[in-house]
């Protein structure tokens, strides 16, 4: 038992979170480096590669390892360690500790072999990330954190309902689920909410940019990518994911093109990039799944790098909008260089990590003879260069001279960015560093003259399109409406109406409705316990449906209360 616990990587990270919370602030760099290193060791060299146990008649596997999980785990550890180093001078103790816990939860999700463990870590992700958002300590951060938490707990409820349904039908082991039962669909939806899939994509760009500069870096790495991992493990080859992925890809590009806030541009591009991965999971061939895994790994690294360079600019200037920034390349040369490396990597420029990972997915679309998908992916690659590859560095570091002369940031920030930039270029130049660890054997060769010429043509001519259409893209002081409008405006008005009428009709109505809701809730909670714990398998489907709808109503009501 002790062996098992000490070989569980997530627990080491959680220990780190506790240590950072109790140690004096100036020592926090020690657990921030040592514990992720131990975790990394556990991920790759832990002897018992799975831990099985039985609880309440269900066999559980809290620690289950394979090559896909190892790659995600490694990316999570790298992201955690470097974002803690990045934030060492600016992050509060709460934020650093929560970041470590957040990373630990993501690693827990990554190595969960059963749904119960999976769900516990999944909810911890939501809790820790909400704390990080709130630590932005502004009114906007508070409100965005509430919206974020409520959406994610709603996703968690849907997921739990699915898991409960699954438990009544059989075991809880994580393995590919055919989308045939209500429970599988509920799990599917719960996971997709965390992936940033439509219609609930708005939370990414709504919540992440409200954290501190270092908080945004931490947030970018874990929630969406653990959802991608869950999709790979649970729903490989579900063709509906191809369309969902494509919608995410173009949603990300269009919204990023309209956006003025630097970090929001990068957050829309998270949705865009996760769309590529979701699409690859939907294609589902060996090559496509390799593509999804490789892309997730390289994406975590270059996205952290991009948000770090944006974060360094925000930390040095206190400004976050394209309209306020510009011309910083002269006074922040290192930050600009690192930002450009990240931007080239996300655009899949040759000799960067994006080039060797994203092309796996394109090739998979070709091999599967999905012409339309391939055309869309190619157009999207051009679009990535447009919205993230050029737009971000151009408006921040070049464009006009904003008159600002901030210097490059603190050494710790430069160090973190330097390591990530080295990884971006290192993997790009030497794909053999990454390919052997992918789940399936890679025969694909990224560096052919044809691929180099075609990719350069694609990217350079998108660049030309960017500069020709610059007048169309003049930055404006605006926000862009999204699906969240529905719960921020009409639902809020509705709540005001209800509140007013309740106030008019006196307290009797309020008391009555209160009791009704409470007793109903109790009945449903009893029912779910009966079906999950005692194995009441007879009316599982209907219970799940009732519980979900009841909890959904409760969650929607709480949405209304915290607009």
């Amino acid at each position: 038992m002790q062996d098992h616990i000490s070989s569980m990587p997530a627990l080491w990270m959680l220990l780190g979170a506790a240590l950072i919370a109790v140690l004096p602030n100036r020592w926090r760099i020690i657990p921030a480096i040592v514990l992720p290193s131990i975790t990394l060791w556990c991920i790759w060299f832990s002897t018992g590669d799975s831990w099985q146990t039985t609880v309440m008649g269900y066999s559980l596997a809290p620690f289950q390892s394979d090559s896909v999980r190892q790659i995600f785990g490694t990316a999570f550890v790298i992201a955690a360690m470097l974002s803690l180093v990045f934030g060492v001078t600016i992050a509060s103790k709460t934020e650093s500790s929560a970041s470590m816990g957040y990373a630990g939860s993501a690693i827990g999700v990554a190595f969960a072999g059963d749904f119960l463990t999976f769900f516990v870590f999944w909810e911890m992700l939501a809790v820790f990330s909400t704390i990080i958002i709130w630590d932005g300590r502004t009114q906007a951060a508070r409100a965005a954190g509430f919206r974020y938490a409520l959406l994610h707990f709603m996703g968690g409820v849907v997921l739990l309902a699915g898991i409960a349904g699954l438990a009544t039908q059989g075991d809880l082991i994580i393995r590919p689920l055919p989308l045939e039962s209500l429970s599988a669909w509920l799990i599917f939806i719960g996971v997709l909410i965390n992936a940033g899939a439509p219609p609930f994509s708005a939370w990414v760009a709504d919540a992440y940019p409200e954290a501190t500069p270092s908080g945004s870096v931490v947030l970018s790495a874990f929630t969406t990518k653990s959802a991608v991992l869950a999709l790979i493990l649970l729903f490989p080859g579900e063709s509906v994911l191809i369309s969902i992925g494509l919608v995410m890809i173009f949603y990300g590009i269009i919204y990023a093109l309209l956006e003025n806030d630097v970090r929001r541009i990068l957050c829309y591009s998270i949705v865009n990039q996760v769309g590529f991965m979701v699409c690859a999971v939907g294609i589902g061939t060996d090559l496509a799944l390799n593509g999804a895994v490789a892309h997730a790994f390289t994406h975590i690294i270059y996205k952290a790098l991009l948000l770090m360079s944006a974060g360094a600019v925000i930390a040095q200037t206190g400004l976050r909008k394209c309209t306020d920034l510009g011309g910083l390349a002269r006074s922040m040369p290192l930050t600009a260089t690192f930002g450009i490396i990240g931007a080239l990597a996300i655009s899949a420029f040759p000799f960067t990590s994006g080039f060797v990972s994203k092309s796996l997915t394109s090739q998979a679309a070709i091999d599967a003879q999905l012409l339309a998908v391939w055309l869309a992916l190619t157009a999207a690659s051009a679009g990535v260069f447009l919205h993230a590859g050029i737009k971000f560095p151009w408006f921040v570091f070049f464009q006009k001279d904003s008159g600002l002369r901030p210097s490059d940031p603190h050494l710790s920030m430069k160090l973190a960015m330097g390591v990530l930039a080295t990884l971006c270029i290192g993997i790009g130049c030497a794909p053999q560093l990454l390919y052997p660890y992918l789940p399936y054997t890679v025969t694909y060769v990224p560096y052919t003259t044809e691929h180099l010429v075609s990719q350069l043509q694609l990217l350079l001519f998108s660049g030309l399109a960017f500069f020709l259409t610059l007048p169309l893209m003049r930055r404006t002081l605006t926000l862009t409406l999204d699906f969240d409008w529905f719960y921020r405006v009409p639902l809020f008005r509705l709540s005001q109406l209800i509140r007013e009428s309740v106030a008019q009709h006196g307290s009797t109505f309020r008391l009555a409705s209160h009791t009704v809701i409470q007793s109903k809730a109790r009945v449903y909670v009893d029912k779910i316990f009966a079906s999950v714990m005692l194995g009441g398998r007879s009316h599982a489907g209907s219970t799940v449906a009732i519980v979900t709808s009841a909890l959904l109503i409760i969650v929607i009501i709480s949405f209304v209360a915290f607009r």
């Binding site: 173009f250 590009i253 269009i254 093109l257 309209l258 070709i366 012409l371 391939w374 055309l375 190619t378 157009a379 051009a382 679009g383 447009l386 003259t449 044809e450 010429v453 075609s454 990719q455 350069l456 043509q457 694609l458 990217l459 350079l460 001519f461 998108s462 030309l464 399109a465 960017f466 020709l468 259409t469 169309l472 893209m473 404006t476 002081l477 605006t478 926000l479 862009t480 409406l481 999204d482 921020r488 405006v489 607009r563």
Partner: protein
């Protein structure tokens, strides 16, 4: 300059298309350029509908 260079190199390096049309000279250049224009225009049109002042959600608080 660079743009021309990639086009010229396309004359030398023949790209074997995977489908019927993607081996044509300059296909990637044209496709990238046109799809980017299309995305910018779509964004512009959507922007007319969806862009709101920054204080849109907080205006009445």
């Amino acid at each position: 300059m660079l743009l021309l260079l990639t086009l010229v190199s396309n004359l030398i390096v023949h790209i074997h298309g995977y489908f019927d049309f993607d081996g044509l000279i300059g296909f990637y250049a044209a496709f990238g350029f046109i799809s980017c224009l299309a995305m910018v225009v779509v964004a512009k049109i959507l922007g007319l509908l969806l862009k709101k002042p920054e204080n849109y959600y907080n205006a009445d608080e």
